[in-house]
């Protein structure tokens, strides 16, 4: 059992790591502004233009549950997902930075629990991401208000997505400091998964062959569930027809399994740090 004293030390260490990470990030303010806050917007800009044109020409047109009335909501959600996605890339960036600055050794040789290290990294990331995330989430809520119950489900499914991205980020992070070759392959795989996740496009816009590939992608279900829950608060009858048991199984299963897999990965490879240099 963790004693009060060690808990206090752990909290102090986590706060030190968070403070340090935030200082390192705000050192280059423009970098933060462009890579963290503007680039997700740019990625959403193109689908926004395309769907605006489509739904202006044909107001009654629909792709699955995407209509002229709700597509802006889905792009807002995609915007929020893009912010969360930054966890995946930034986590590996944080690890590689510590590796190449040779400061990871300073942390590994210190009496710091490896999970304290993780929490320190994660909380700093969450703080940096949460500002624009909450801002755009509130705007989306003001524009498309839903009952509290559905809002709760939406928040819960965003949390599940954050856990999934955090787990993927952790795997990438530990790979970049120990197995850079595998990291590149894993990173490519993740890019493909994001590309085929229907983050900013409806599933029905793709040819059937690609649709069947997308349906094998777990990230798709995480994002789709957020949209379905939000839509339930707006148009329950339409939304419920798109909710499948696969959504629930993949999201609940993934939220439980992925952290376990990533922590296993982290533990396995963390002990091997230092050897890859040879």
């Amino acid at each position: 059992m963790v004693s009060k004293k060690s808990l206090r030390i752990n909290i102090r260490q986590i706060s030190a790591l968070v403070e340090r990470n935030l200082y390192l990030e705000v050192r280059f303010k423009l970098h933060i502004l462009f890579t963290r806050y503007f680039s997700p917007f740019i990625q959403i800009l193109m689908p926004l233009i395309i769907f605006n044109v489509i739904f202006t020409i044909r107001e009654d047109y629909l792709f699955g549950y995407w209509t002229g009335q709700n597509y802006i909501l889905f792009l807002f959600i995609a915007f929020c997902v893009q912010f969360l996605r930054k966890i995946v890339l930034n986590f590996s960036h944080l690890f590689s930075r510590e590796k190449f600055w040779k400061t990871l050794q300073a942390l590994m040789v210190a009496p710091v629990n490896r999970y304290v290290l993780l929490f320190g990294f994660l909380i700093a990331e969450i703080i940096l991401i949460s500002i624009p995330f909450i801002f755009f989430f509130i705007i989306a809520y003001i524009l498309f208000q839903i009952p509290i119950f559905y809002l709760f489900l939406v928040i819960l499914s965003f949390l599940a997505l954050a856990i999934l991205f955090g787990s993927l980020g952790l795997i990438l992070g530990i790979l970049i400091i120990t197995k850079e070759g595998i990291y590149s392959v894993f990173n490519l795989g993740l890019t493909l998964l994001f590309w085929l996740s229907c983050m900013s496009y409806p599933l029905q816009i793709f040819p059937e062959i690609i649709q069947s590939i997308i349906l094998l992608n777990p990230i798709y279900y995480f994002i789709d569930l957020i949209r379905i829950f939000w839509l339930m608060g707006l148009d329950y009858n339409l939304a419920i027809t798109f909710l499948t048991p696969t959504h629930i199984i993949v999201v609940v299963g993934g939220t439980i399994i992925m952290p376990i897999i990533s922590v296993y990965f982290f533990n396995t490879f963390y002990d091997k740090f230092g050897i890859s240099g040879y």
């Binding site: 102090r12 260490q13 390192l24 040779k102 050794q105 040789v109 009496p111 002990d271 230092g274 040879y278």
Partner: protein, 321 residues
């Protein structure tokens, strides 16, 4: 140096005087694309006493950093084990981490933070209370006060090393592991750091290529080559290794230089022959060889003849070869 026969059982009480003990410590690295492994450390048995300044010498790739990394719990050995402060490095890592400080040159500090932010961060990580005062005192001793609130990337090399040293001194470790702490520093700053280290009265485990640093700091020295300890002894005994040998430097007119080098190369009492610019350097196995040497070199137009005092650098070269 300990031999295999007197290696104690793991649970056997450690001699209280020793704060570092290694028992057949071996580390093998898997090489990419090769079946065989690289043996970085081969059955290392070492003992370091409390309060001792212990120097680890060896050419590049000898395994010095690997040994330091294992003793500070950064790496795990393939075979054998070690005790630091009486605790097994494989079982009581937390205790060891809390009580040792590792300095890898001017690394392990954040160049994109100020000196103060660096020190504050590590004080919090090591759970040091009342750190403001401790930081103030430490930077004053090390002469960093004026630069404390500037970004480390603006520091000179010497300043960075001093900050790295301040980082580990603030945690007040029982043992300091210093890996090439003064690499690239000018003699004045090196000397000031040596002076600080001398006053610490702590156990120091130092690796370095700089013989003057090792010579002025260390009580005992171990020489590591290809992962094996070649010799562990006092620095005086190390110097004795080349006692009797005489280092000589001569100059000869350029036109006869190659002839002289060829002639000297053929003499069996001449070792370590080197030509650097106008000088020809070599060592004589014994002073009794002087008459034979003069007999040979008298045939050449010698412009300079100088006998040079031997130092640890010569020992290093001799053992490396």
């Amino acid at each position: 140096m300990t031999t295999n026969s007197n290696i104690p059982k793991e649970n056997e009480a450690m001699d209280e005087n020793y704060v570092i003990e290694t028992f057949n410590l071996t580390k093998r690295y898997k090489l990419r694309g090769k079946a065989e492994k690289l043996t970085a450390l081969n059955s290392i048995n070492l003992k370091v006493k409390e309060g001792e300044i212990f120097g680890l010498l060896g050419p590049n790739g000898a395994g010095k950093t690997t040994l330091v990394s294992i003793l500070t719990t950064l790496l795990q050995p393939t075979e054998g084990y070690a005790k630091v402060l009486g605790r097994n490095i494989l079982k009581e890592q937390y205790f060891i981490k809390k009580n040792v400080g590792l300095m890898l040159g001017s690394d392990m500090i954040y160049y994109r933070l100020t000196g103060y932010r660096n020190l504050k961060f590590f004080c919090k990580i090591y759970n040091i209370n009342d750190y403001e005062k401790k930081i103030k005192d430490m930077v004053e001793i090390l002469g960093l006060t004026s630069k404390l609130n500037q970004l480390v990337e603006t520091y000179s090399s010497g300043m960075k090393v001093k900050l790295a040293l301040a980082r580990i001194l603030l945690i007040d470790p029982k043992i300091l592991f210093l890996d090439e702490p003064m690499l690239g520093l000018d003699p004045k700053i090196s000397k000031s750091i040596v002076d600080i280290l001398m006053k610490l009265n702590k156990t120091i485990f130092l690796t370095s290529h700089q013989m003057n640093i090792v010579e002025s700091l260390c009580d005992r020295i171990a020489f590591l080559k290809e992962g094996k300890i070649i010799k562990v002894d006092s620095k005086e005994n190390f110097k004795n290794l080349i006692r009797g040998e005489t280092k000589i430097q001569i100059n000869v007119s350029e036109s006869r230089k190659n002839d002289l080098v060829k002639t000297l190369n053929n003499l069996e009492f001449v070792d370590n022959l080197e030509v650097e610019k106008e000088n020809i350097n070599f060592s004589l196995r014994s002073k009794s060889n002087y008459p034979n040497l003069f007999e040979v070199i008298n045939k050449f137009p010698i412009t300079k003849f100088k006998e040079i005092e031997t130092d640890l650098e010569d020992v290093f070269i001799k053992l490396s070869n």
